[in-house]
């Protein structure tokens, strides 16, 4: 029994890899439904979009690529579905070259479903380098920074961009990235008071809570969990709802592994203690 307990702390890493793979694959094959708790941070994003005025646009900063597709894709899709359903116009931009492609792909898919048109309901501003300097300039004069959209059409010729001059014409900035840029808070929310919401990966979300608590961020979608909660609020079941189940299983597996590792660790510790005590006792007897 003791040996078995010690072995629990020494499971081969290949067995763990296999368990992780099974925990991901099985829920994708066998459909399992789990209850979803709507968090305050997800509700914040939903509420702010619900109250966005129709005469202003929403700016989506899609700064993510293939590596973070699993988390940022369902988040982007959920936010776009909400915007298109509400008839709120939005512009996509990205701080990395790959981001605009992903944003466009999702927007085209959602637009097709809701009968929305490019240039009237949404547009793609493309890749905007320059980080903080670009953000500061964009807030002052959008058309001064972005002269043409990704297709090369001048912004003035795009119906939805007519009358959109600076940050006052933007009702919400939604930063979707592995780690959304805090420059939106420093140079836009702090200066102009524009609403800012973030959709981040789960691993970095703990860094966003101070901004939520201070009211600088009006909402946050945390990884796939945020997307699944948002889909629940929208009454849809898309990628987020599908992916949250495998994620749940992997989290549960990791917790179980941590418990097993600690059982093994304590059993080994006890065994070593007993061994030491045995050696001491033997030494004592020999001494006598």
């Amino acid at each position: 029994m003791k040996e078995f307990l010690v072995k629990l702390g020494k499971i081969d890493r290949r067995v763990i890899y296999l368990l992780v793979i099974l925990a991901v694959v099985i829920p994708l094959i066998v459909k399992i439904r789990l209850p979803i708790f709507i968090s305050r941070e997800t509700n914040g994003v939903y509420t702010i979009i619900e109250h966005c005025p129709e005469d202003k646009i929403v700016l989506l900063d899609c700064t993510w690529d293939a590596g973070n597709r699993g988390e940022n894709w369902p988040q982007t899709e959920a936010v776009m579905v909400h915007l298109m359903r509400k008839g709120i116009k939005f512009a996509i931009m990205s701080r990395i070259p790959q981001g605009t492609g992903f944003g466009r792909e999702i927007a085209e898919k959602v637009a097709k479903k809701y009968g929305k048109k490019y240039g009237i309901d949404w547009c793609n501003l493309g890749y905007l380098p320059g980080e903080a300097a670009m953000i500061q300039a964009l807030a002052k004069d959008i058309k001064g920074v972005v002269k043409k959209d990704i297709k090369g059409t001048p912004l003035d010729s795009i119906p939805m961009m007519q009358g959109i001059e600076d940050i006052r014409d933007i009702s919400l900035i939604c930063g979707i990235a592995y780690w959304p840029s805090e420059d939106w808070l420093r140079f836009v929310q702090g200066v102009y008071g524009t609403n800012v919401a973030f959709c981040s990966s789960a691993i970095v979300s703990s860094a966003m809570y101070p901004f939520l608590d201070s009211g600088q961020l009006c909402g946050l979608l945390v990884g796939v969990r945020g997307a699944a909660e948002y889909e629940r609020l929208l009454g849809t079941e898309e990628l987020g709802t599908e992916l949250i189940v495998p994620q749940s299983m992997v989290h549960l597996l990791i917790v179980v592994l941590i418990v097993l590792a600690n059982i093994g660790f304590w059993a080994e510790r006890r065994e070593k203690k007993e061994e030491r005590r045995g050696i001491r006792d033997e030494g004592g007897e020999t001494g006598k």
């Binding site: 890899y17 789990l34 305050r40 300097a133 670009m134 300039a137 920074v145 969990r225 917790v255």
Partner: protein, 221 residues
């Protein structure tokens, strides 16, 4: 001389952004003129950014080129770099300026069928490494370690629906999603703010050193 010019540009650039941020657009009805230059300054920086990307590309080409020329160990990977770079570059150029169905197909193969799965694979490997490292590292040795392990388990389960399902029969205030939310909103926020105070103090010091060109390594050789 060159060094002095760089230092003066750094000082003026930093001073401009600092004053533009702290001063209002107008003081007693007189414009400061600072905000009128924010867009051209932003555009200049965007161009500089593009130059930096170009410079990076040249640097990479020189490094890998030398490796191939001297047939140093791993030169085959340098050839892979050149092939990948050129293939992506040419396809993107053609797709933008000469879009045909063939170019589009090739672009789809490179980007959608190769680049995207590769990126996703690298990130997916993290899940496996995280599971094994959590298994090996999260040991209850001390009181502090116990607090960390317990908090981590609560957050891990509370952040996903299974946590709610497991504690659904308990009173709502002690259900895992709520305990996890308390940890994130209160305990984590306080600790993270404390850490950030320290980091930002350091960042201010580094920014000042860079602005005033006191940082080592800023000298031109």
């Amino acid at each position: 001389m060159k060094e002095r010019v760089v230092k003066i540009i750094t000082l003026l650039g930093g001073l401009y952004y600092f004053l533009e941020f702290v001063l209002p657009q107008e003081i007693k009805g007189h414009t400061t003129y600072l905000s009128s230059f924010i867009v051209p300054m932003g555009n200049i920086l965007m161009v500089l950014w593009a130059f930096a990307v170009g410079l990076g590309l040249i640097n990479l080409s020189i490094t890998h080129g030398k490796k191939v020329k001297k047939l140093e160990p791993g030169w085959i990977y340098s050839i892979a770099f050149f092939i990948a770079m050129l293939a992506m570059m040419v396809t993107c150029f053609l797709d933008t300026y000469h879009p045909t169905s063939l170019v589009r197909q090739f672009y789809e193969i490179l980007f959608t069928r190769m680049y995207m799965p590769l990126g996703a694979t690298i990130f997916s490997l993290l899940a496996l490494f995280m599971a094994t490292s959590a298994y090996r590292a999260m040991r209850v040795r001390t009181f502090e370690a116990t607090v960390m392990v317990v908090s981590a388990c609560i957050i891990m389960l509370g952040q996903v629906p299974i946590g709610l399902w497991m504690t659904r029969t308990l009173p709502s205030c002690i259900q895992l999603p709520r305990v996890s939310a308390w940890l994130l909103w209160i305990a984590n926020t306080a600790a993270y703010r404390a850490v950030m105070f320290g980091i930002y103090m350091g960042m201010i010091a580094v920014a000042l050193r860079l602005w005033l060109s006191l940082e080592k390594g800023m000298e031109l050789r």
